[in-house]
């Protein structure tokens, strides 16, 4: 099978290079059959990558330990689910996964994009294929997943225990899907620049792709937080680790793009900015892979490191230079159709939102690279950890939350002071009421206080938007409120889905604020002994050690410590935390013992128990016990955000012909004659 895999890689590389060469040369413009061949080239790359992927999966599932990758990341006693997901556990497999998904997306883009963008598609095929060629070439040059060992070991080394978690089954693919799918909007942007078709057509072609990338990244980041929380055992979900930062960077710039692209669609402005954002987002997705794979920055998430970092750096720099050179060449053709006219306009609010999002991305990038800069300038190594990032980014994050509430309240072009008063009255009231409530409750942490007040303000904004829209329908059609809300959302999924995403974001902020009140205590308990901890809500939790049981499981020896938990004297149940000593199929230890956290979660707080180890090999044990407020809301925020994102990109809803959409780009048109009339009586803005 490795021979087939090797052949597929070479075939994929040749097909990708041929497609890219012909696509970029532009000769297809005079020869329709060549244009069709370029597009078919992307299908050929996809077919080759599917074959290569199946070959690797076959090797994994048949425990072909002669394949170095299979030996390095699996063992005979590894559960089947993790044997399958070991595909992306290591660097070589991850690169093949990249190439596979990219080629699938590239082919899919060719299939689902409408005929009216056919002039762009050969260029899109060329760009996706050149990226695919880079990944395939990197595999063939220095990270081949089909490399063989000189002898066949009887068993593999097994999978890192931290990766033997359901979160790692789904989190890396989601994140990779986000990273990889960014290539498609990037390919369309380059295609628009090359073909000089710089109207909003390419934006409409990539709308779903950008949302899809953004959503995959958001889900991937949230799942990564969940994995870190349940698996790493430090009681938190975000540590500003370089790998975490690398996933956040393209998400931030993509979020900025999703806002600024609305200004281009409506007003024909920010064309250069939007193209720059797409290019930067793509480069950041490559940068993320570069810093995690190169070893240039240490990370707890870097499970693999090798010399592919240099190749990524070369690709990153050359792609950036090429893309920005092309942008510079087309600069004159990207003049805005209109100008921003007022500070009190939605365009301005979106611009400030973009500024803060890009500012946060810059500060995260700056902090991530600052140790390298410091060593380069001063020759002194420094550590840039959570205290630095919190100090710099929390104020920016709060500013972003404020703008999330302000943006929807301001009209396009210009808003009158009276309108501003009317729009801000209720949301500001929400915020002030929250402030009063929190002051009475005695909350003093300034950042948590600010986050909760601003979250209330944003919630007020979103509620008001839903309420006014639904009220208009109730008055006009006499619909019941639930029906009015449903139809309101259904008629404009993009807008109201976006509001739900805002709700998801504010829920995240509320949850993040909760961690300011985290309580942690270490205890040593013999069986029967009890420890007490007071939670931030004033509850007294007691933990009684019930003992440690040990047993053998499929690929590990488990030591499970059980604690009986009571809250204010009332029994809540038991919590189990484990130590797992993984062994191979011969019973030999494979990794250092790993920890499985015991978590009891409710809406207010999580009880988080870590069995730290035993005293002298007895049941007398050390525990790290934390009470983590509002953690449940992080995952709920992720669900709301995902639902909002899906709603935004769901097909259907209100549609408008492209020609008509261009006509109303600078404002909107309202029919005042009644619901059944077609006569536009008032064109409101333009």
């Amino acid at each position: 099978m490795t021979l087939l895999g090797q052949f597929a890689l070479w075939a994929g590389l040749l097909a990708a290079l041929w497609t890219a060469l012909v696509g970029f040369s532009g000769r297809w413009r005079d020869r329709p059959e060549l244009a069709a061949a370029v597009i078919r080239g992307s299908f050929a790359v996809c077919a080759a990558m599917i074959v290569a992927a199946l070959a690797l999966w076959k090797g994994l599932l048949t425990h072909d330990f002669n394949i170095e990758y299979v030996w390095a990341y699996t063992s005979r006693n590894l559960p089947d689910a993790y044997v399958i997901t070991a595909f992306w556990a290591g660097q070589k497999g991850s690169l093949l996964f990249w190439a596979l998904v990219l080629s699938l997306f590239g082919a899919l883009a060719q299939l689902v994009t409408g005929k009216r963008h056919e002039r762009l598609m050969p260029y899109v095929a060329a760009v996706t294929c050149i990226v695919a060629a880079f990944f395939i070439g990197t595999m063939l040059l220095s990270a081949n997943p089909f490399d063989r060992l000189p002898v066949t070991p009887p068993d593999g080394r097994g999978l890192n225990p931290q990766l033997q978690n359901p979160g790692m089954v789904i989190h890396p693919p989601m994140l990779y899907l986000g990273y990889i799918s960014i290539t498609i909007p990037f390919a369309f942007a380059i295609a628009a620049l090359l073909s000089k078709k710089l109207d909003t057509g390419w934006l409409h072609a990539i709308r779903k792709w950008t949302l899809l990338s953004w959503l995959f990244l958001a889900i991937g980041i949230t799942l990564g937080m969940w994995w870190a929380y349940v698996e790493l055992g430090w009681g938190g979900y975000w540590a500003w680790d370089p790998v975490e930062n690398a996933s956040l960077l393209p998400w931030l710039t993509m979020t900025a793009f999703l806002h600024s692209v609305m200004i281009q669609e409506k007003r024909g402005m920010l064309k250069r900015w939007n193209l720059s954002l797409i290019v930067v987002t793509f480069l950041l997705s490559i940068f993320g892979t570069f810093i995690t794979r190169s070893g240039v920055i240490a990370s707890v998430h870097s499970f693999t490191q090798s010399n592919v970092g240099f190749l990524f750096l070369v690709f990153l720099l050359s792609t950036g230079a090429a893309a920005f050179s092309l942008l510079y060449l087309r600069w004159p053709a990207l003049k805005p159709d209109a100008q921003l006219e007022s500070l009190a306009s939605r365009e301005a609010a979106f611009l400030f939102n973009n500024l803060v999002l890009v500012g946060i991305a810059f500060s995260v990038l700056w902090g991530t690279l600052f140790p390298i800069l410091s060593e380069w300038v001063r020759g002194v190594k420094v550590t840039v950890g959570p205290p630095f990032f919190n100090r710099v980014n929390i104020p920016l994050g709060l500013l972003l939350l404020l703008l999330t509430g302000i943006g929807p309240l301001i009209a396009w072009r210009k808003t009158s002071p009276a309108n501003l008063r009317r729009q801000f009255l209720w949301p500001a009231g929400f915020g002030l009421a929250a402030a009063a409530g929190l002051a009475v409750a005695g909350m003093r942490d300034r950042y948590a206080l600010a986050a909760l007040i601003l979250a209330a303000f944003v919630l007020g904004t979103v509620t008001q938007e839903f309420w006014r829209g639904a009220r208009a329908r109730v008055r006009m059609y006499g619909e019941a409120v639930p029906l009015a809300v449903t139809r309101l959302v259904n008629r404009n999924r993009r807008r109201y889905g976006g509001y739900l995403v805002h709700v998801g974001i504010l829920v995240y902020f509320v949850a993040f604020a909760g961690m300011a009140f985290k309580v942690t205590q270490e205890v040593t308990l013999a069986p029967g002994e009890t420890a007490e901890i007071r939670s931030p809500y004033g509850h007294t939790y007691s933990f009684t050690h019930l003992g440690v049981s040990q047993y053998e499981a499929l690929n590990r020896i488990v030591s499970a410590a059980n604690l009986e938990v009571r809250r204010d004297g009332g029994r809540l149940g038991t919590i189990k935390s484990e130590k797992r000593q993984h062994v191979d199929s011969f019973g030999e230890k494979t990794f250092e013992p790993s920890t499985e956290v015991g978590i009891r979660s409710d809406l207010r707080e999580d009880i988080y128990v870590v069995y730290a180890g035993s005293i002298g090999g007895t049941e007398r044990a050390n525990f790290a016990i934390s009470i983590n407020p509002l953690v449940w809301w992080v995952w709920f925020g992720g669900v709301v955000l995902t639902f909002g994102g899906l709603l935004t990109m769901w097909p259907g809803g209100r549609t408008m012909a492209p020609r008509r959409r261009r006509d109303v780009q600078a404002g909107f048109e309202a029919n005042l004659a009644g619901p059944d009339s077609d006569a536009p009586l008032a064109e409101v803005v333009r």
Binding site: L340, G359, P387, W412, R491, I615, G617, T618, F668, A670
Partner: protein, 184 residues
């Protein structure tokens, strides 16, 4: 002889009955399976002062964690428990938190701190992002304010526009509804 042995045996059984259950009852079947043996938790482990100092100091094991997080998370790390003992020893010797941090910097270098001290070149690390955002924001605001003055634009009727602009209330309702449906 046999009597002696018997007596010793009897004593051993008796001793075992009294002592062994206490020693072995909580003895684990695989004593090393839960990992490295732990020390009993002391007051210093839960001291808020010690915790706050340790949260500012990086573990030297190669992880990216602070000493407190590492010693309460990575139970395979042999560095963080020793660094914890160093912190406790300095604290017990009467050193202030600042002096303890300085002692770690003197011993392990500036990278011992979880965040660089905000002085000298490090100030660039803290200030550059904020300066960039503030400068760009100020320029943007000034440009928009200038345009506000030179190009008067009639207020747009966005969602929630003020009533009484020369249209009837029924028209206003229809307008509100239409705008609510079309405006993003």
């Amino acid at each position: 002889m046999s009597d002696t042995i018997g007596r010793r045996g009897f004593l051993a059984v008796l001793g075992g009955a009294v002592l062994l259950p206490q020693q072995d009852a909580d003895r684990l079947r695989w004593p090393s399976a839960p990992g490295r043996a732990r020390d009993t938790v002391t007051g210093a482990h839960n001291s808020e002062v010690i915790k706050s100092i340790e949260r500012k100091l990086k573990c030297t094991c190669g992880c990216n964690l602070d000493i407190f997080t590492c010693r309460t998370t990575d139970f395979t790390c042999t560095y963080s428990p020793e660094l914890h003992k160093e912190v406790v020893a300095l604290h017990d010797a009467g050193r202030t938190p600042e002096e303890i941090l300085d002692a770690f910097v003197a011993k392990y270098g500036e990278q011992a701190l979880m965040a660089p001290p905000p002085s000298g070149f490090n100030l660039a690390g803290y200030l550059v992002p904020s300066i960039v955002v503030l400068t760009a924001g100020t320029i943007l605001a000034l440009v928009l304010l200038r345009r506000d003055r030179v190009t008067p634009v009639p207020p747009a009727a966005g969602p929630g526009a003020e009533e009484g602009d020369g249209i009837s209330s029924e028209e206003q309702e229809r307008l509100d509804r239409a705008l609510a449906e079309v405006a993003d």
